[in-house]
């Protein structure tokens, strides 16, 4: 009886999956006419936009011959592209921004492409992202503090409208805040650079707006901030009432989501206002042609289409950023709730591209060191010495025997 039971369990556990043969079927090698790497959330909210289908209609390439690979985040896109540098699989990379552009250019994974559609793209975006056209901008937005005003009453914190970074510390707003890890997340990195641009870096003689040092700010905020490893994790914390952190680092366009979908304007984006200007860091996202792409012509066709008005109209309400194409449409709810980057004093100008490129890794390392938890060695020393003494006594006794 027991034996029969065990046999049945075996059949259940091992044989049923064997009948399931889908992985094998898909293993038949397909020659893709186009392979795109992007991040998970591209054009994915509130419902997934059928990017492959739309391009298939546009280009006539059969849907099943287009491969869209969604990696965890934009860092992953870059890392996979670098790993595949000698023999690329991807034709197009979507989602590298105005910071990852350095690494992608120094690693030589992209090929410059002077798309005919570039004339429709705002030239300042092109200048700020990549004047050499390795990476072409498709959307942009500023980093902002995204506040749920239902839970953080604006009337009790009137300073929000003229907030400065130092106010955050003074008003203990950092206890209400969740920040993404700049190493993993682009809004997180944007916010780190924001603090550097505002506060300056004394060790590098970067004065910033306030001629102070960004490390001091983070060191003070260290114990109070909650660090999330990704935007979605941060959002989860921000959203959960129990965690009680109604401020998160997100985009100036984030309020548009609830505004357009639920007509809910209670979540508001705020900037900081040092030296009485509206300060923020600008993020520009771009796409690029892979150097040595197997299907370069299709890739170019895709890039042209992606920057065209047809697709760019979808950016605002599916990717929740400002479209790069000057002629793309933005709905009213979007314009009313989101912070338009064109009205903001962009902090990016305070840190030259050269300084940024040279010091990015250094800053991230420094930031990580500030946040590295202190290991209380006392416990270790006590237990270790106790153990050592025991072992010593034990071994010595043994020797005597």
């Amino acid at each position: 009886m027991k034996r029969a039971l065990i046999v049945c369990l075996f059949i259940f556990l091992f044989l049923i999956p064997l009948c399931y043969s889908t992985p094998i079927n898909t293993s038949a090698a397909t020659d893709y006419k186009l392979t795109i790497y992007t991040y998970q959330s591209l054009l994915n909210e509130p419902v997934s936009f059928d990017l492959v289908g739309a391009f298939s209609n546009h280009s006539g390439i059969p849907k099943e011959e287009i491969q869209l690979l969604r990696l965890d985040d934009s860092n992953q896109i870059l890392s996979r592209a670098i790993l595949e540098k000698d023999n690329p699989t991807a034709d197009v990379l979507i989602g590298l921004d105005n910071i990852l552009v350095f690494k992608s250019k120094s690693e030589n994974i992209l090929k410059s492409y002077n798309s005919p559609v570039l004339s429709n793209i705002s030239s300042s975006l092109i200048e700020n992202l990549d004047p050499d056209h390795y990476l072409l901008p498709y959307d942009y937005g500023v980093i902002a503090l995204w506040v749920d005003t239902n839970r953080l009453n604006v009337s009790t914190v009137p300073e929000l409208d003229s907030l400065t970074l130092n106010d955050i510390l003074d008003l203990d707003l950092d206890k209400k805040m969740v920040v993404e890890n700049p190493i993993f997340s682009s809004p997180g990195l944007g916010f780190l650079l924001w603090t550097i641009a505002v506060l300056g870096d004394s060790s590098l003689d970067i004065s910033g707006l306030l001629e102070s040092d960004w490390r001091d700010w983070w060191e003070e905020a260290n114990k109070d901030l909650r660090i999330a490893s990704s935007w979605s994790e941060a959002f989860d914390i921000w959203y959960s009432e129990e965690a009680d952190r109604p401020i998160m680092i997100s985009y100036g366009t984030s309020p548009a989501y609830s505004a357009c979908l639920y007509d809910d304007y209670s979540a508001v984006a705020y900037l900081t206002h040092e030296n009485s200007s509206d300060n923020s860091w600008l993020q520009i996202e771009g796409l690029g042609l892979v150097n040595g792409a197997p299907n370069e012509e299709n890739a170019k066709m895709f890039i042209d289409w992606f920057l065209s008005k047809e697709l760019q109209d979808k950016i605002a309400t599916h990717n929740w950023m400002y479209p790069a194409n000057k002629y793309a449409e933005v709905p009213e709810c979007f314009a009313n709730s989101a912070i338009n980057p064109d009205t903001v004093d962009i902090l990016n100008n305070l840190i030259s591209l050269e300084i940024l490129e040279n010091n990015l890794d250094f800053w991230l390392d420094e930031w990580e060191e500030i946040f590295a938890g202190e290991i209380p060695y006392s416990g270790l020393v006590i237990t270790f010495s106790a153990l050592f003494v025991t072992a010593f006594i034990y071994l010595r006794k043994k020797k005597k025997q």
């Binding site: 065990i6 369990l9 075996f10 556990l13 091992f14 049923i16 999956p17 064997l18 399931y20 992985p23 898909t26 293993s27 038949a28 090698a29 998970q40 959330s41 909210e45 997934s48 491969q67 690979l69 969604r70 860092n75 870059l78 890392s79 790993l83 595949e84 000698d86 023999n87 699989t89 690494k103 890890n181 190493i183 909650r226 660090i227 999330a228 490893s229 990704s230 994790e233 989860d236 959203y239 959960s240 129990e242 965690a243 890794d361 991230l364 390392d365 990580e368 060191e369 946040f371 590295a372 938890g373 290991i375 209380p376 060695y377 416990g379 270790l380 237990t383 153990l387 034990y394 043994k398």
Partner: protein
């Protein structure tokens, strides 16, 4: 040569011997090719990143890596938390194991088995259970806040050492308990009686007689816990946040996130060296433990709990022990229970209790998961099954080579093959799963079929991870076979193949099945390598659960985790059942 007169033909011998040689050659080829192709060659590819620059060998990256304060603190923290986890596990586990060894009560065996379950659970599931139980609004803190009336949580598991330590203790306590129960049971009580008659004091008896006897077991168990905690990945990745990182997390970050392959591989090499040292140390200590376990006559007197018979002092001691065991049981089971309850607890009132399980069939969460949860479940089972089959085949090939040391002991020398093989499989055991995955990826991604065959490489990574464990279980049962049985069989005229099929295979069958199920369970929960290699539709439940940590409801991941728990427990029950049937010679 001492046999000049014998013709070569006689030496080679019969058809049987030729066939045997062919089998050995094939098996060796399979093993060597497998490990060369899927482990050693990819490993050298990785090493090239960190040691070779422009065709020259350089140690520059190495010194860079060691000089980086973050890497150094990750290294120190790995040791620190592994050490503390081990010590705390010992302090909590050893009294429990003494209690379990000393007292006889109904359901004891079940209790021991239940306490072992966390160890076989996938780390992601443990993590999820942990978040549900100890999160700011989790059970423990809610209960604490209700009792104390304070608004501050009792425990903060995020970015704190406590969180990581509690998770590691929860995960590893069973290792200590399981390994040290036989230690207590095997203590030679004759010696203690002798010592009592000689009038030695209690403390002296403990130090001189009891402690030396359990010492080796404790060392083995501690080393095991240490190595698991040292290489902890998912738990520290999630709970440590930025603040605390183990080497493994650091490698993951350097390689996958910061794109710094040089640092990543250099760290991987450091980790490899440390792991190899600890594992070698463990193997030595385990061998000694096994040797010491032999030849004990009188063992621990077991007693039934009987309160009426005890003096007041004893009553108190036993009562406290029972309370202790109950708290340990609650500590172990709360997270598992929490997952199962959470899977039936709707986040929004509008959905049913079975929403989580219903979601298995929907594609609503595809933007997080890339495929339906059901598909992930089937992937998980499919990978685990294939992994089990390949692992068993490889273990059998190993056996085909190793068993030949018993066929004619030439000059009584044991073959070097076994030693070589144990080192061959030791290295994959000491390599971090992420390094394994990165190696496989770098080696094979240039093939045009790579993207369509990612699942093959996920399975290969699982095989590399589970082969050492499975092989150890199978070899252990093979080594229990009496050599004389094989000698007799060969004098009875049975060919080597027949001896294998009719004598050896039936006798190791249990070990084989246990090893197989074990590798199945490992594959079920594997996270690090899978998460790196995974692409779109090939996700497993572990990866799915991790991706859903960011979603608004934990009901779906809890449902997925409950399924994993169920399957893992089934595997575990099977191992226990099979392990219990004992064919006594």
């Amino acid at each position: 040569m001492t046999f000049p007169s014998f013709s070569l033909k006689k030496r080679i011998g019969t058809k049987d011997e030729v066939l045997n040689k062919v089998i050995i050659a094939t098996a060796s080829l399979v093993i060597v090719l497998f490990f060369l192709l899927f482990f050693y060659v990819p490993l050298t590819k990785i090493l090239k990143f960190s040691f070779i620059e422009q065709g020259k060998i350089t140690l520059e990256y190495f010194s860079d890596v060691i000089n980086s304060p973050m890497n150094r603190s990750a290294l120190i923290f790995s040791f620190y938390q592994a050490f503390l986890s081990t010590i705390i596990c010992l302090v909590i586990g050893i009294p429990a194991s003494y209690f379990l060894a000393k007292y006889e009560f109904r359901g004891k065996k079940v209790l021991i088995n239940l306490l072992t379950i966390p160890f076989v659970l996938p780390p992601i599931v443990v993590l999820l259970g942990f978040i549900i139980t100890y999160d700011a609004n989790g059970w423990v803190n809610t209960i604490w806040q209700t009792i104390s009336g304070s608004n501050n949580p009792l425990i903060n598991i995020f970015g704190s050492i406590e969180g990581i330590l509690i998770a590691h203790i929860f995960y590893n306590i069973s290792v200590i308990i399981r390994i040290t129960i036989p230690a207590w049971e095997n203590i030679d009580y004759d010696l203690i009686d002798v010592a009592k008659t000689l009038g030695t004091s209690k403390w002296r008896r403990f130090r001189k007689i009891i402690f030396p006897q359990i010492f080796n077991h404790i060392v083995s168990a501690s080393l095991l816990v240490f190595i698991y905690a040292f290489n902890s990945f998912a738990i520290v990745l999630y709970l440590g946040q930025v603040r605390f990182q183990t080497l493994e997390v650091r490698i993951y970050k350097e390689m996958v996130r910061s794109l710094d392959f040089q640092s990543g591989t250099a760290l991987a090499v450091i980790q490899l060296i440390i792991n190899t040292l600890i594992i070698v140390f463990y193997l030595v200590s385990e061998k000694r433990t096994r040797r010491m376990a032999m030849g004990k006559e009188k063992s621990l007197k077991k007693e039934k709990i009987n309160f009426r018979k005890y003096s007041t002092g004893k009553k108190l001691v036993v009562f406290i022990s029972i309370i202790y065991m109950i708290s340990l049981f609650i500590f172990t089971f709360a997270p598992i229970l929490a997952i199962i309850i959470e899977s039936f607890k709707p986040a929004v009132e509008s959905v049913s209790s079975f929403w989580g399980y219903g979601q298995l069939f929907s594609t609503e969460y595809n933007s997080y998961l890339h495929s339906a949860p059901l598909r992930m479940l089937l992937n998980t089972l499919w990978f685990a099954s294939l992994n089990m089959i390949i692992t068993i085949l490889i273990s059998l090939s190993l056996l085909f080579i190793i068993r030949n040391r018993f066929q004619r002991l030439r000059k009584y020398k044991t073959s070097r093959v076994e030693g070589m093989i144990s080192y061959l499989i030791l290295l994959p055991m000491a390599t971090s799963s992420i390094t394994l995955a990165v190696g496989l990826f770098l080696q094979f991604r240039t093939f045009s079929w790579y993207n369509n065959a990612v699942w093959v490489f996920i399975i290969l990574a699982h095989v590399l991870i589970s082969v050492p464990f499975a092989t150890r279980s199978i070899l252990a049962s093979y080594n229990r076979i009496d050599v004389e049985l094989l000698n007799v069989a060969s004098t009875l005229g049975a060919s080597r193949l027949r001896i294998f099929a009719k004598i050896e295979l039936p006798l190791i069958l249990k070990g084989l099945i246990v090893g197989g199920i074990f590798s199945f369970a490992i594959s079920l929960g594997e996270f690090g390598a899978t998460n790196f290699l995974v692409k779109t539709e090939y996700g497993t439940l572990s990866v799915g659960i991790y991706n859903l940590f960011g979603s608004h409801t934990l009901q779906l991941p809890a449902a997925m985790a409950s399924i994993l728990i169920l399957i893992t427990i089934l595997c575990f029950i099977m191992i226990q059942k099979i392990g219990d049937i004992d064919l006594k010679v």
